[in-house]
Amino acid sequence: MSVQPAMPKCWRVESKPHKFCPGCGHGLVLKAIGQAIDELGIQDRVVFGCDIGCSLLSWDFFNVDTIQTHHGRTIPVITGIKRANPDIIGIAYMGDGGGYAIGSQHLVNAVARNERITVFLVNNTQYGMTGGQMAPTTMPGQKTETSPYGRDPEKTGYPTQGPEMVAAITRNGAYVARGTVVNMKQLKNYIKKALENQLAGKGFSFVEAMSTCPTNWRTNAEETWRFVEQDMPQFFAVGEMKAPGQEKEGQGNG
Amino acid sequence: MGKAVKIILAGEGGQGVQSVAEIIAEAANEEGREALYIPNFGVEQRGGVSVAYLQISDEAIGSPKFQKADIVIALSDRSVYRTRKYVGPETVYVYDSGIEGVDDALPANAKKVFGIPAIEVAKKELHPRVFNIIIMGAVIKATGVVSEERARAAIEKKLGYKFEKNPELRGLNFTAIARGMELVADAL
């Protein structure tokens, strides 16, 4: 008899098992989000927005009101909701393509306006749903369908430093962190603090989660874990870039 | 559908043609007549000739723009060129007689063409700031679209807050209307 691991209470049983590929990190990030929602007791207040790409597979993931859109427009949809009804806890959930490429203007300007919403962005270093093309977050030398000989930083730049950018352009009151599915306790902690920041009405909150895509990475379990645990941190630093009350001198822009 | 009186006012930015058109339009509206005023806009808004298109009628007004005007008022050399295409056999064409070097450009096909010394009168007799009000007097005299009384009321409505602070301005503006009307009456 196998014991099922406990699901977060706000997960929707009817839509499980979920639709992500085996080994995909989305399920882990969504688990951390679910746990944070449970612990904060906000299931009735959350509106969850998901984007195009693999993140859209979460459109019926939670017993939480959910809207699916595309191209990083999840941020303006959630912004529009939050502006119209400030009691709602708005979560925009998207991938690196939506947040850092096609919808980057929405991220930058939601940050600039200090929208009281929370963005969770899953970084798996490429476009998953479309078949593994190079993304803003693709690592130097990493092979993808549109960088078959490896990403050449001379021609295509270095991986986008999302949380660093967000931290640099937010003022005091924002919460910005990067976690990883390798450290779930820490990731859930960041996610929870981001939501608490919105609950407190302090400012914009943002967590990037380093995640896995064995399907497009074409990696086995061991290689997958090594990539996210050892390779990605070479370009993506884990930690809190900004937290209310903890701003380092000169960092606050306040 | 009754024929609307079609008016074109053209000048340089700062000559106040748009505010004149707007005040006349509002005055006509206050009289219960139909008025339609549309400013030119677009790239010319910055540094170009400012053209105001105004129509006043007792019935519903058709398209906002028109081909030939009943009266054209051109207040600068560039305006003379800009407004030529709106002049037809039924058009009364008024220009400021102080504009130099446009004699050859003045329309030959108009019903009547005459100059009025509005710029000079504003400068020497009244005050440069009421130049556009002189023009307003000229327009209402030439077209009869609104009465002098109604024009005064419209100015009072628009500039009343300034008159409160400086009551002399009221007299200056009303004199400007009367002078504008005289200039046209003399020319006609």
């Binding site: 939480v64 949809v77 529009g80 502006r83 203007q105 | 005023y37 549309i38 400013p39």
Partner: protein, 362 residues
């Protein structure tokens, strides 16, 4: 509670952009999301001045994509939300409005057409007809009112909110740069005082209770796994759309019964057409007038009937045949000979219509 924005019927003399802001207030709009583009800017200018007095909200977004998607967010939160745009902004607006179409969301967009393609002019055109009626990667399940006067801008802006919420299709008020910038008179009124019931919006998300416990969660998507799933959803939407056509489609016509030539136009051009037809009639020409007020859905039945009995139709528009294409589709197989007067991006006067009509009639 703040006072009603319009207490009693009153004659006003305003620009069209100002009229739209007042009409949105009269329709009890809650929030505007917007991005600057000429010639619609003053809608935002007036709204932002009026909004705080009536406890309304405004958000200036980073672009028209965001203006459209935040409008969608506002609608989903249960507020009467709207935006306004023009030209290249309308191009961007098609992406969010495709989502509104896919999810049948009651959005309201006011379009003040400018010259096209691309940046073109900030002045005027009727070149956003195709975009507004059929734009996006969809099937044109929208309601598009093409207004001709400030009175109609006021009336149909109010109506657009009601139609959007009643039928749950995105609604557009299609004006143009002339209407946006010109001043003329209209009568403003409180719609409820005139017996027009204003539909109260309902939230799509954030309703009371814990989702999955007290109620089903609201799960809104516009993505489908298989072709057939999408196909089935679309069939339902087409049926719903077709069912509202008779109720929604509007037109205006006169002097068509005995006419040898009927002038067809829409929006501000219909003012010139109307004046031209009246003038021609006075001169003894048997000319008629037809104007679709809704461009989506088009009053196709009425136009087809007209095209079946009128020998000649003259389509007049400030575009290179954007209305003409819609009309030809509706009139397919009819005997009427279709003539045209197209002036893309340029205003049309009654004199030009008269001259063209006389040219056709000989």
């Amino acid at each position: 509670m703040p006072d009603k924005p319009i207490q009693a019927e009153k004659r006003a003399f305003l620009t069209g952009n100002e009229v739209v802001a007042w009409a949105a207030l009269a329709a009890k709009a809650d929030i505007m999301y917007g991005y600057p583009i000429t010639p619609q800017n003053e809608i935002m200018h007036y709204w932002t001045r009026l909004a705080p007095k009536y406890e309304k909200e405004f958000l200036q977004t980073e672009d028209e994509l965001s203006a459209g998607f935040t409008t969608i967010g506002g609608v989903m939160a249960g507020k009467k939300s709207f935006t306004a745009t023009a030209g290249p902004g309308n191009t961007l607006m098609q992406e969010p409005m495709s989502m509104a179409e896919a999810m049948r969301l009651p959005t309201v967009v006011v379009v003040m057409q400018r010259g096209g393609p691309s940046t073109a002019t900030v002045i005027y055109s009727q070149q956003e007809v195709t975009l507004t009626t059929l734009g996006g990667n969809g099937e044109g399940m929208r309601i598009v009112y093409s207004t001709a006067s400030h009175q109609e801008l006021f009336d149909y802006t109010i109506k657009a909110f009601n139609s959007a919420w009643k039928y749950r299709f995105p609604a557009f008020v299609l004006g143009d740069g002339y209407q946006a910038k010109m001043r003329e008179s209209l009568v403003m009124y409180d719609p409820e005082e005139r017996g027009i019931e204003l539909i109260t919006p309902e939230p799509y998300v954030g309703k009371p209770g814990v989702p999955g416990v007290d109620r089903e969660p609201a799960h809104y998507r516009n993505t489908y796994n298989v072709e057939e799933e999408l196909y089935d959803v679309l069939q339902e939407q087409f049926t719903a759309y077709n069912n509202i056509i008779d109720e929604v489609a509007e037109f205006e016509a006169f002097d068509t019964e005995d006419a040898g030539l009927v002038v067809v136009s829409h929006g501000v051009v219909s003012r010139a057409a109307k004046a031209a037809v009246s003038e021609l009639r006075e001169a003894g020409y048997k000319v008629g007038y037809f104007r679709p007020i809704t461009l989506r859905p088009l009053p196709a039945k009425e136009f087809k009937a007209l095209a079946g009995k009128t020998p000649r139709i003259l389509v007049v528009e400030s575009a290179q045949g954007q209305l003409d294409r819609l009309l030809k589709e509706a009139a397919y197989g009819s005997k009427a000979e279709m003539q045209s007067l197209f002036k893309p991006g340029v205003g049309i006067t009654a004199e030009e219509v008269v001259a063209r009509a006389k040219g056709i009639l000989g």
